[in-house]
Symmetry: C2
């Protein structure tokens, strides 16, 4: 890994639970030597990517990320365009909705909205990258990669985030087929135990996938009828989002049949998985 | 300059007029050799700080900056807090208002609002860093640095952005005294010809300066009465912004006297500058 990547990776150690990080903790969390980490932190701070709390000397994300984000939004206003759609979607389905953008082999969270209608709601971590193979957002996007890219990604060992993460390439290909048919992916407990989600791809020009919309629900509330309703809204909103961003939504997706309930790997058809020759 | 800084500086080449930059243009604009620039671009893209237009292969700012900005806003919601105040201020004074945050020896733009009530309005470039000595935002902040820091900054040659940029250390110290008295700075044509502005410091905990609010007006419209009115509103809004961010606003600022019109370096008292012994 290059010096630049090593430095930029330090920025990924921040999270909603870790607002400020001191030198010692950076060394511990990054498992790198103190002199190197200190040099990287100094350069990141010199460029405004970090700033130091004047009292504790601990580091936090700096104003440069705000300025660059504002510039990107001026040039390509994705957040501005997607935010109202994500809010609307979350209010219609009464659950946490989010949009994320492809960033190499992961999904980078962009906006989320929590309608706060239930006592128990999925908590969304804005700092956490979403893996392609273990989240409905990731798989919704992955399914529309060129086959050669999918082959390359499937050739690597797929991390089991939970007992139910699909890590077997042939089962993964079944999932991908399902996503290509309806433009939808449902997963239960695949990234985090107790969380189910439905994801739908967002496309740019030339039907190239650029991100995904998703709704995440506690698995205990993810009954088939509810999942079906969420899936239908996601199809609508993924198309809306694609059009709003100036992209082209594929004409090939089938309408959701009344008995659709995702793939055979989703929670509500779990019983079928164990049936031989199902 | 270190490798990391060299790579991060490439991100500063984007601007509202330059949304995408190809390799050749990066080489030309950065005046560095092609192999190095290419390696830096590749690492920045691998980490999501850049992404490539799939058609032209040109680079643009990537989704990582949006994610990190969203995280910083979750942890320290400055944009969310300052945006409504900046909008309100711009509507009250009918001119472009903006907030910026200190980033080392420059000000990093955070939010701006243009009430669009005049045919001619100051254009605000969200990508451009504001120098401390040549902008009212910068001087409003600089005036509250420790004296030793001010001495260090004054010891460097001060860039003349226009014929009217104050680059003489003793005149600069007069300006700083004025800012310390009222918590306000006015400048005319100091950063850009034809643009006047009034700036006011925003403070964090312990009255430490963290940023500035400012209003920018075409110099042709910056009559003394209007400047006075803007200055009064800025005093109010800088205090509001400081309180909203959890900071402490100094109690030492004097109320604006009716005849206040900035310092002797502002446009409306320009005549006095040429009066001997004025």
């Amino acid at each position: 890994m290059g010096t630049i990547s090593k430095a930029l990776e330090l920025l990924d150690l921040f999270s909603p639970d870790r607002a400020e990080i001191g030198l010692t903790d950076f060394v511990r969390l990054s498992k790198r030597d103190k002199a190197t980490v200190h040099r990287h932190l100094t350069e990141l701070a010199q460029n405004g990517f970090l700033e130091q709390n004047p009292d504790s000397r601990a580091y936090r994300l700096g104003p440069a990320v705000l300025r660059l984000a504002a510039l990107r939004e001026t040039l390509f206003p994705m957040r501005k365009i997607l935010q109202p759609l994500v809010i609307e979607l979350s209010e219609i389905v009464g659950e946490l909705a989010h949009a994320s953008l492809l960033q190499n082999d992961e999904m980078s969270p962009l906006v989320h909205a929590d309608p706060k209608v239930h006592g128990i709601q999925v908590h969304f971590d804005v700092a956490e990258m979403l893996p392609l193979h273990a989240t409905s957002s990731g798989l919704a996007a992955l399914a529309f990669f060129p086959d050669a890219t999918i082959d390359r990604l499937m050739a690597r060992p797929l991390k089991k985030h939970t007992a139910r993460t699909v890590a077997d390439p042939s089962r993964m290909r079944d999932l991908i087929e399902g996503v290509r048919q309806y433009g939808l992916c449902t997963l239960a407990d695949a990234f985090e135990d107790g969380v189910s989600s439905v994801g739908a791809p967002i496309f740019g020009q030339g039907c190239r996938v650029i991100g995904a919309l998703a709704v995440a629900v506690p698995t205990s509330r993810a009954a088939p009828r509810k999942t079906h309703e969420i899936a239908g809204q996601l199809q609508r909103y993924a198309r809306k989002a694609t059009v709003a961003l100036g992209g082209a939504y594929p004409k090939t997706f089938e309408d959701l049949p009344p008995n659709w309930s995702g793939t055979k790997f989703t929670v509500h058809r779990e019983s079928k998985e164990t049936e031989p020759n199902a």
